[in-house]
């Protein structure tokens, strides 16, 4: 065991010193994940805006005005739709929340906004920050609307002037009544003049003091189903990760051919260690490198890009089983030719095809169905599938067994074939 670990550490040290190899193993996958993640996410929405659905099923004009008010908010990206689609999209996590105005909901008991329906908000209870933010925006819009309705002194003064003129010129009102009315409206005019002089200050304090000013918002909890990716990074990081594993596979396959062509393998073979130990050392080195790359990339994904891990135990198993899988493939690729060029050529060809049909380029969920069938022959597909299962597909451990077994099988079979061919080379 000691010898195996020692052999493996030598290989890891060599990998760490290979700057070019490291690029393909870490930097390139990360760039892939970030690049495509950014492209996909910019298509969905402006990153800083809160994407919500607005469902306006109210016929009142005040509801319409309220929606117009929301529309002006730069903090929101709004899509209009029916109640059902809004619910579905929020439930899938595609939209942060929906805001619904409907006549069937009970009327808000607002004195000033007469026909304002209750504002219904549907949001995932886990989205606490967004929920608070959205309520703030709704409250603000509501106040603005209310203020427009009741607190426009110029509007009121104009109306009072018009009224006094009408009273003056009326021939049907008797002069005594006329006098009483003129006095009443004149003092009303004075009152509004007073208000406009003292400005917004008095009006806002008046509103805040008002018992019916708080907006009629009703919250509804919508739990998001986990089996949908919430951000594009949840798709591109498993992809990037698999590219990293392909990089590791090629790096180690090349290191095995180099050992053979340079003659260091000959030195290993005549040392007092067994062939099994040499091969186990190689296997362990590629296994550890795969695990290390997975852990690094997943840590960045989680800490920096907020990629969720719905099933941590499943993720750990996915890391281990893909590492087994690709360590086996290392062995097979390393014997696909006698020279470094032959192995590099054949190796990358196989890797690229596997990646193409396996969802390394076009994400699995966007593939046409015939391609999905084809993808079952790719180790990359099972790797991505297992990672997605643990990240956002919401697989239970039971759901994960199948992809994990497939990955392990691929690893064992390719390793066995690789070793058999290697032993033939040695004769």
């Amino acid at each position: 065991m000691n010898s195996i670990l020692f052999l493996a550490l030598k290989d890891l040290r060599l990998l760490a010193r290979d700057k070019f190899g490291l690029f393909w193993v870490i930097a390139f996958p990360l760039l892939m994940a970030l690049f495509f993640g950014a492209i996909f996410s910019s298509g969905e929405s402006g990153a800083s805006r809160l994407s919500i659905a607005v469902v306006n099923e109210s016929s009142s004009s005040v509801a319409k005005q309220f929606v117009e008010q929301l529309q002006q908010s730069s903090a929101l990206s709004i899509r209009y739709m029916s109640h059902d689609s809004a619910r579905t999209l929020v439930g899938m996590g595609k939209l942060a929340a929906f805001v619904e105005l409907s006549d069937s909901a009970k009327q808000a008991s607002s004195f000033f906004l007469k026909d304002m329906p209750v504002i219904k908000v549907g949001i995932d209870p886990k989205r606490k920050a967004e929920s608070g933010y959205l309520q703030g925006i709704l409250t603000q819009a509501y106040f603005v609307l209310m203020q427009q309705q009741i607190m426009n002194p110029a509007k009121i003064q104009q109306a009072v002037d018009d009224l006094i003129l009408q009273i003056d010129s009326s021939s049907t009102i008797n002069p005594e009544t006329k006098a009483v009315m003129k006095r009443f409206f004149s003092s009303l005019k004075q009152f509004t003049e007073y208000l406009s002089i003292n400005g917004a200050d008095s009006s806002s304090s008046f509103l805040e003091a008002s018992p019916f000013a708080s907006p009629p918002i009703e919250m509804e909890e919508i739990s998001v189903d986990v089996d949908k990716p919430r951000s594009s990074f949840e798709i591109t990081f498993p992809q990037g990760l698999l590219w990293g594993l392909l990089g590791v596979t090629m790096a180690f396959a090349m290191s095995i051919v180099q050992e053979r062509t340079k003659g260091t393998y000959l030195r290993l073979r005549i040392a007092p260690i067994t062939r099994a130990q040499i091969l186990a050392g190689k296997g362990l080195a590629s296994f550890l490198a795969c695990v290390l790359i997975s852990v690094i990339l997943m840590t960045i994904a989680k800490l920096v890009f907020g990629v969720r891990v719905v099933n941590p135990a499943g993720l750990a198993l996915a890391v281990v089983c893909t590492a087994v899988c690709f360590s086996g493939i290392v062995m097979l690729v390393s014997v696909m030719g006698r020279t470094e060029q032959a192995v590099a050529g054949a190796g990358w060809a196989i890797m690229l095809v596997q990646s193409m049909v396996g969802g390394g380029m076009v994400p699995l969920m966007f593939m046409p169905s015939w391609m999905k069938v084809l993808s079952n022959f790719s180790a990359v597909k099972w790797g991505i599938y297992a990672f997605e299962g643990a990240i956002w597909r919401g697989f239970s451990l039971h759901d994960m067994i199948f992809p994990l077994v497939v990955l392990t099988m691929i690893g064992v079979v390719t390793f066995t074939i690789g070793v058999t061919i290697l032993m033939r080379y040695e004769q």
Binding site: S3, F6, K10, R13, L14, R17, D18, T261, K262, G263, T264, L266, R267, L268, R269, I270, A271, P272, I273, E426, Q427
Partner: protein
């Protein structure tokens, strides 16, 4: 003692090693001399247990096959290719191969230091192999075979592509190692090397051993005559019975005993202006055995 018995190795149609047998004695420096493709490397690889022969066997120190762990510990091999990790330093390479032979701690440090001195590369120990010249790589390749202090040492063309200084250093080290009592098997296609270093030489071609003996005996048996070429100062007396052919003042003598003949001429009063003795060498031996030169 190393016993090679009826060793045979075939790659498809091609016979690389064709039923060869020989013994190597303890403390001997044994040479395998032959052109490229003669089967030297294939023979060595079978002797160190890296390649299994189709027929025949190898036993080392009467103890058994070179594939047994106990035997392996006592064998060192410097492969013909530069079998080193380019991105590890000289010291790291030596330490790695030392550990493969179960050296640890102080003992390992001591042996690594010894090997670095042997290679004359102590001051470059922290540098990566990829920064070394061809000669330096050869020296480390050689030192890696010695780091675990083996009793039997196989050196497969250890001087290919090196500068004269490195070559001399390697020669000196090999002689040192031999003087310490080690058995050394040395392959080369340079006859000067075999002639200088080896106690006995096996001349191989097309997988067969054509001749095996000490250098002296090989030359005597297969070298044919030596040649004395001389310019005389003056025509000698009629009374002196000159061997060979005299044209003007130029004398040419073909003989098996050139030194004795030259001495005899001097004693009988012949004065030379120039004198050259072309002794037969292993090149001539190979030419006489195969009708081809060693290096084409």
């Amino acid at each position: 003692m190393i016993q090679v018995t009826n060793l045979f190795k075939q790659y498809g149609e091609l016979i690389a090693v064709d039923h060869i047998s020989f013994d190597i004695y303890d403390g001997e420096l044994f040479g395998l001399l032959g052109p490229n493709g003669a089967g030297k490397t294939t023979t060595i690889n079978m002797m160190v247990g890296a390649l299994s022969p189709n027929e025949g066997s190898v036993t080392i120190n009467n103890e058994g096959f070179p594939t047994e762990p106990d035997v392996r510990k006592r064998i060192g091999n410097a492969p013909q290719s530069l079998a080193l990790y380019d991105e590890l330093t000289a010291e790291e390479n030596l330490a790695f191969f030392g550990r493969l032979y179960h050296l640890r701690g102080k003992e390992l440090e001591k042996r690594v230091m010894y090997a670095l001195e042997l290679a004359g590369l102590v001051d470059r120990k922290k540098d990566r192999i990829s920064t070394f010249s061809g000669g330096m790589k050869r020296r480390i390749n050689f030192a890696c075979a010695v780091v675990h202090n083996p009793e039997v040492l196989f050196l497969d063309e250890p001087t290919v592509g090196v500068d004269p200084q490195s070559r001399n250093l390697i020669f000196e080290r090999i002689e040192e190692l031999k003087n310490q009592g080690r058995t050394i098997v040395y392959t080369t296609h340079y006859m000067e090397e075999a002639q200088r270093l080896c106690d006995r030489v096996a001349i191989v071609d097309h997988g067969k051993i054509l001749a095996l003996d000490t250098v002296e005996n090989l030359i005597t048996t297969y070298g044919g005559t030596s040649v004395i070429e001389a310019e005389l100062e003056s025509l000698p007396d009629e009374s002196i019975n000159l061997p060979g052919r005299l044209v003007g003042l130029h004398l040419r003598v073909e003989t098996d005993t050139p030194l004795e003949d030259a001495m005899h001429l001097v004693e009988s009063g012949v004065r030379f202006r120039t004198l050259r003795i072309d002794r037969a060498d292993l090149e001539t031996v190979f030419l006489n055995l195969t009708g081809r030169r060693l290096r084409d």
